[in-house]
């Protein structure tokens, strides 16, 4: 077998492209059906999406989304559905913000401390689901969803004055104590707005993800468990341990999701901290097929769609159309991947069949010659 198969690569790209085309067609239909002109809407989106301030916005958004996608993908690779990234990153960001606001250490100490806090809190929260799964047989899908709601309650309880909350001077907003200047993460001085320095961490996380999964024993075990738990068990992998470990890793990465916003933008956790990114992460992991580069492209696409549709609001459209586009993309992409997978399998089978037939024919030729 050749290691690099051009046709296979083409097939891999075909699925998401097909899904995006279908999604835009469906969106055009929805827009047209509701009496709006679809193609000028797409024109506005693309024109606005490539402006330089839009590019910065998209990169910054994509940093957060990329980390969320990675967190989800770690679980997906071993057939573990961590729907709870949403609760994990919010709880993690909240406690990290509280710890960061309470201390004033030099940045070189404080920033790693904040990030570490977030990763540990995220890992612990995800770990509950992992432990419940292996010891009590509770499906991680249900338990992580419940943990999301419980995380909301915990944050709501603690984010109050007299607990971990802090009323701002105007007396209108409750947040955690703002981080000291020293723990602001560095930025790239681009114009008109800076690119968040956390993008570097996101890239490093992506490389670490790729390396761990495809170049280490642990990653191999993880993928084996994902494809067949019983086969992994038979080859000596402790499946239960793997479930808990990968849940912990997924939660730790989820802990990073809130960090770009916390360390580069808001510097505090308040009621308007972004929510629902965990679910965005699921969509992006599906879109990027759990591949580090695919996830990056998905994150950029999501950022672009949000930026572009935001502009539509000023042109007589509704920006909520972004939900329709994104939803259709996700549904189409999962179907397209499955169709392509089946086609690839069929192609492989017919290829092997043809080769075997050719071999058989050769053999019989030789027999005739020798006879």
């Amino acid at each position: 077998m050749k290691k690099f198969d051009k046709e296979r690569l083409l097939l891999g790209i075909a699925a998401p492209v097909l899904a995006i085309v279908v999604a835009f067609l469906v969106t055009a239909l929805v827009l047209a059906a509701t009496g709006k002109e679809p193609f000028s809407a797409f024109g506005i989106m693309f024109d606005y999406g490539v402006k330089s301030d839009s590019q910065v916005y998209i990169l910054n958004k994509a940093t957060t989304y990329y980390l969320a996608g990675l967190a989800v993908a770690v679980g997906f690779r071993m057939n573990l559905f961590n729907i709870g990234v949403d609760g994990q990153y919010r709880l993690a960001a909240f406690f990290a913000a509280a710890v960061g606001g309470a201390l004033t250490l030099p940045g070189a100490l404080q920033i790693p401390l904040i990030i570490l806090t977030a990763m540990i809190v995220g890992a612990m929260w995800a770990g509950i689901a992992g432990v419940l799964k292996v010891t009590r047989g509770v499906s991680e899908v249900v338990s992580t969803i419940m943990l999301n709601a419980i995380a909301t309650a915990i944050i709501g309880y603690l984010l109050q004055q007299g607990r971990l909350g802090h009323l701002d001077e105007a007396g209108t907003k409750i947040s955690t104590t703002p981080l000291p200047e020293s723990s602001h993460f560095f930025e790239f001085p681009t114009t008109p707005t800076p690119v968040w320095g956390f993008i570097v961490v996101a890239v490093v996380a992506g490389i670490a993800y790729w390396f761990t999964l495809s170049r280490t024993r642990f990653g191999f075990d993880l993928r084996t468990v994902g494809q067949s738990g019983s086969a992994a068990e038979a080859s000596g992998v402790n499946v239960k341990k793997m479930v808990v470990t990968s849940m912990l890793i997924s939660g730790a990465v989820a802990g990073l999701v809130g960090m770009p916003t916390l360390l580069n933008d808001s510097y505090e956790y308040s009621g308007d901290f972004p929510i629902g990114i965990g679910f965005t992460g699921i969509a992006i992991a599906l879109l990027g097929r759990n591949h580090p580069i695919g996830i990056a492209l998905g994150a950029l696409l999501w950022g672009f769609l949000e930026r572009g549709t935001g502009k539509l609001e000023f042109e007589g459209y509704d920006k909520e159309i972004v939900g329709v586009i994104q939803g259709v993309i996700v549904l189409c992409v999962v179907i397209a991947y499955e169709v392509v997978r089946r086609y690839g399998l069929k192609r492989q089978q017919s290829k092997v069949g043809a080769e075997l037939a050719a071999q058989a024919a050769r053999n019989s030729d030789q027999q005739e010659v020798s006879a």
Partner: protein, 429 residues
Amino acid sequence: MTATATSTPPPAAPKVSGGKGGRTRLSFPVVLLIVAGALLALSAVRAITGAQDVTSAGQISAALAMAVPIGLAGLGGLWAERAGVVNIGLEGMMILGTFFGAWAGWQTSPWLGVLAGIIGGMLGGLLHAVATVTFGVDHIISGIAINILAVGFTTYFAKLWFNTGEAAAKGGSPKQSPPADDITSVTIPGLSDWLHSIEKHHWFFVSDVAGVIGGLVTNVSLLTILAVILFVVTFFVLWKTSFGLRLRSCGENPIAAESLGVNVYRYKYIAVIISGGMAGLGGAFLSLVTSHIYNEGQTGGRGYIGLAAMIFGNWRPGGLAMGAGLFGFADALQLRNGGESVHALLLLLVVVLAVLAAWKLYRKSFVQGAVSAVIAAAVLVWYLATDTVPTEFVSATPYIVTLLVLSLSAQRLRMPKADGMRYRKGQGK
């Protein structure tokens, strides 16, 4: 030939009778005993702590109203999973139900709204069936995609349809619809008042029974009665008809079903579409009975809780109804500002955990016993140190109860054997 014929039945036989792993089927008297026991425990808690609202008619009536959408979502899950399709898209189908229910409901009559809600949910179910059955997409992934799509779709159209013209004039906004008319509620005259007068005396157990029955006969929406009928109908169709047997065979062993001439794809399609319709009805109940309007995010994860109720109920309608009742009760606590009630129920939790710890220690599983004992002690300290539970935690009660109940019961459950597995026509050949 004879050898294969005789060797087949024995391995199948223990499975049919439940086997060692499965739990013994609850008979009707046993169920009644459990209900009576729970009621006795609740009345003891009420008498000891003085939290009168725990078994009041108001609380029970609210619990019933909250149990219906959860139960309907769970019923939807039951239909789909009995045919072997995991339906995590219930949440999305419920959202479609709330949206279409309110959309048709405020313009015409609430009953047309109910119909529209069911159809909206069925469309979601159809989409799930196309993705999972025809294209073989992983069931959970397809379900998540449907949830994302349903949120996107309803957010867009809510702004378009509820924020313009007549709808806006009648109180619609981008995030909510104008109110729809009432669906008739019925109260059994005489009985309701009589029970209420007994309840007011706060007699041990008697008043509690009166409160519970009073809650069940006062202001019951016709849609609630419809939901109860659907439970009974589901049981009869799935377990007492040949259609139901074939449908369940698709969830247990689709290849065997196929070999007997069952059109597995068709049964799965029917099951998942019905499943969507049930979830849609649950959604319509939320928007037309519970609140009279569509509200963005009003399902609040009830589709998932419904799924949890179904798992708790061991993929059977009776168990599901009990699970839905339990979660509905927990859900109703937050509606009634139940800090005091939840605080009282902590005591019940302590007793349950202590009994569990003693049982585990008796069975020599020391780790589990110790864990239960430690948690029981911690909850007891919490109970003694405080007077009420903060509202934030009251709102988390249904989710915590779900987690607790599942972690105590999940290992004894048996799901349909081919649940969640990919199946392709002719794969057994």
